[in-house]
Symmetry: C2
């Protein structure tokens, strides 16, 4: 086990109706004026946004509100929010939404109290020194951003969208209010995309070269098994509170590094997928459903036993002791079948991506200058090969 630090101080308030405690929670933090950030109209129509606003008002907390976050959140809105928040002299940010809204809020909260261009932190030119602080009222279990130290924002530079991530303790939300009731209206496609996103967060932590971290292995397998057994129920019974609750909490655990401590992580597949999202503006989970099995096929030979462990422990496949590679392959097929069964895309055509755009993806990835991933460090040729697997896969 590698040396590690684990510090996830987010206070979670989980359960029905808990958005009505937002005001008391913010007041207990000694904050007085909140910038509420949200996305589209769903949290308006559902009444969630107004419940949060009413809760703040009842607790004597002033607020200003700004919507407009889109999936694959954009830097230009963050710049607007930073200016707005500074002008309004807010002392806290609250995100009402899913990963895109939360990441926008994280970048905003950091940007308000750090000089210069906030995107410098995402380009790794310098480190943030502080954050205003943020809280979350979660609506979509997917990105796990409510408990994570990361944020992903994309910025248009010279006609291309660059999706960049920032890992920082300043990204960790102070609180996260999570009410499964508000997720009941999440459509099946978004529910499934969220499930893939969660599984991918775990899998980036599962395919590792660090040996002998069985506690973390078991935790990864636990979260993966739980998602695999719960998502079909959520899709069959979208109003089932228990199923929605299990998925919601699994999504948090998948990305707050509970499943990641003590070892090398990969993150190549996320990098590969970000270029698809950037170019085609697709849902992150949909892109991951296309890319992860392709990545797995390409890297399996590096450590077939690890893929066999995945197959047996997550999908209950019998271990072929004579020929473990068969088990390894069966696990990848099982994952593909699972993604298909929950309505996820399988290849480039399914997401409107084109093989001809691969050179552009590679350029955005920057793999002429560096490799990506750690399980198998991938160079330009590797990435090209993986994109081609994803392009050409025929169920």
């Amino acid at each position: 086990m590698e040396n590690f630090e684990f510090h996830r101080p987010t206070a979670y308030y989980f359960g029905a109706g808990r958005e009505n405690e937002a005001g008391n929670i913010v007041r207990a933090l000694n904050k007085h004026k909140v910038l509420i950030v949200f996305g589209g109209s769903s949290c308006v129509k559902s009444g969630l946004l107004s419940r949060v606003q009413q809760s703040l008002a009842s607790a004597g907390i002033a607020y200003v509100t700004k919507g407009g976050v889109v999936p694959n959140p954009r830097a230009d809105l963050v710049y607007e929010l930073i200016d707005y928040g500074r002008r309004e002299q807010v002392d806290f940010v609250v995100a009402v939404g899913g990963g895109s809204v939360i990441d926008t809020a994280k970048a905003t909260a950091i940007g308000i109290v750090n000089d210069g261009d906030f995107f410098d932190f995402f380009l790794k030119k310098r480190q943030p020194q502080d954050t205003l602080g943020l809280g979350v009222v979660l609506t979509i279990p997917a990105a796990g951003s409510e408990g994570s130290s990361s944020a992903v924002i994309q910025k248009e530079i010279d006609g291309h969208f660059y999706k960049c991530g920032l890992s920082s303790c300043f990204n960790v939300p102070t609180f996260a209010i999570m009410n499964p009731e508000v997720t009941k209206t999440l459509p099946p496609y978004q529910t499934a995309c969220g499930a893939v996103d969660m599984m991918a967060h775990v899998m980036e932590r599962y395919f590792t070269n660090t040996p002998d971290v069985s506690i973390t292995d078991r935790l990864c397998e636990a979260v993966l098994c739980s998602i695999v057994e719960t998502v079909p129920r959520v899709l069959r019974e979208p109003d089932n509170y228990e199923a929605r609750a299990n998925i919601m909490w699994a999504g948090t655990l998948a990305h707050n590094d509970t499943c990641g401590v003590g070892r090398e992580q990969d993150w190549a597949t996320h990098a590969l997928e970000h270029q698809l999202s950037a170019i085609y503006d697709i849902a992150h989970g949909a892109g991951l459903a296309v890319m992860f099995p392709a990545w797995m096929e390409y890297t399996m030979a590096h450590n077939p036993m690890r893929f066999a462990q995945f197959a047996t422990r997550v999908f209950g496949i019998s271990m072929d002791f004579e020929e473990p590679k068969r088990t390894a392959k069966a696990g990848i097929i099982a994952l593909r079948n699972f993604f298909k069964s929950i309505g996820m895309p399988q290849n480039f055509a399914d997401i409107g991506a084109r093989e001809e755009d691969i050179p552009q993806m590679l350029k955005l990835l920057g793999v002429d200058q560096h490799t990506i991933g750690h399980f198998v460090p991938l160079n330009r040729d590797d990435c090209e090969a993986i994109y081609k697997i994803a392009a050409r896969y025929q169920g």
Copy 2:
């Protein structure tokens, strides 16, 4: 899933040599004078205590040091430490040791800044309002106190030792430094007692009446599987860093409520065991090894399928679909065998306990006034029956 709050802000610093960072960590918290609390001579002889002291000194942090914590920690030392800490005007407490030292430090840190008798909080007469704050340098993976919101202290009242617990956010340590290297010298018996303690922490959260919390089930099973597969390795290869590391982290996860959210927990077995520790001054894990299987035998009929799930998922026992009770029983036998295989006691005789003392145990338990536990609320007759199972078990 029941509504829940989960707030575990402890900052973990895990790995070889990390006790040398204690000074920087404390300084970053803006603290200036530490009360170091420790137990017996092992952390002195190993040099760990002096490394912590040197690290504090190098960071310009003043400190005073007081040892003397014993297993099954006593209130009288806490009173002394509170007085000492107040006289010395410390602004932080650091525990160097295992669960007993940490719990002593927790009670001290609370007692220093709250008026009146600290034990009132443990008797549930009133609630603490604050804590001075504490950090941990862990030496024994067992109690999970380094990340938990609980502390257990015993006080002699009218000639009897009362072991009482306090659950409070003020108990949660600010940081925990965890170096597996320092656990290599832990003798086999203490290592095994620690493993039982960890497993029991998970099992108190596993045997629940709250249905449909599969994510928490899977996490419990993950931690239990990891302990079961790692402890025999630790006993065979006590100098194996990886094995010690996995066990150390499992112990933390077992009790920081990662395995407990969203549902009813039991805690009867801990209450039953506390009376054994109080009367016979035995290791907590040893008492749990005797009591948990007895509790399981007595309560199995309440929900045989849950015990069958335990048997199949934790011990890999084949499910008997025609007669699940057989699987349930096989799981209890497997647990007994596991405890025996790691050198744990099996019955009262093995721990020097006597059936004649059961009335005293029941009196200390207070089961004339209330039941204990939630999975099956146990009254006086139930507790007596369970103690008798434990007394009379013949391997």
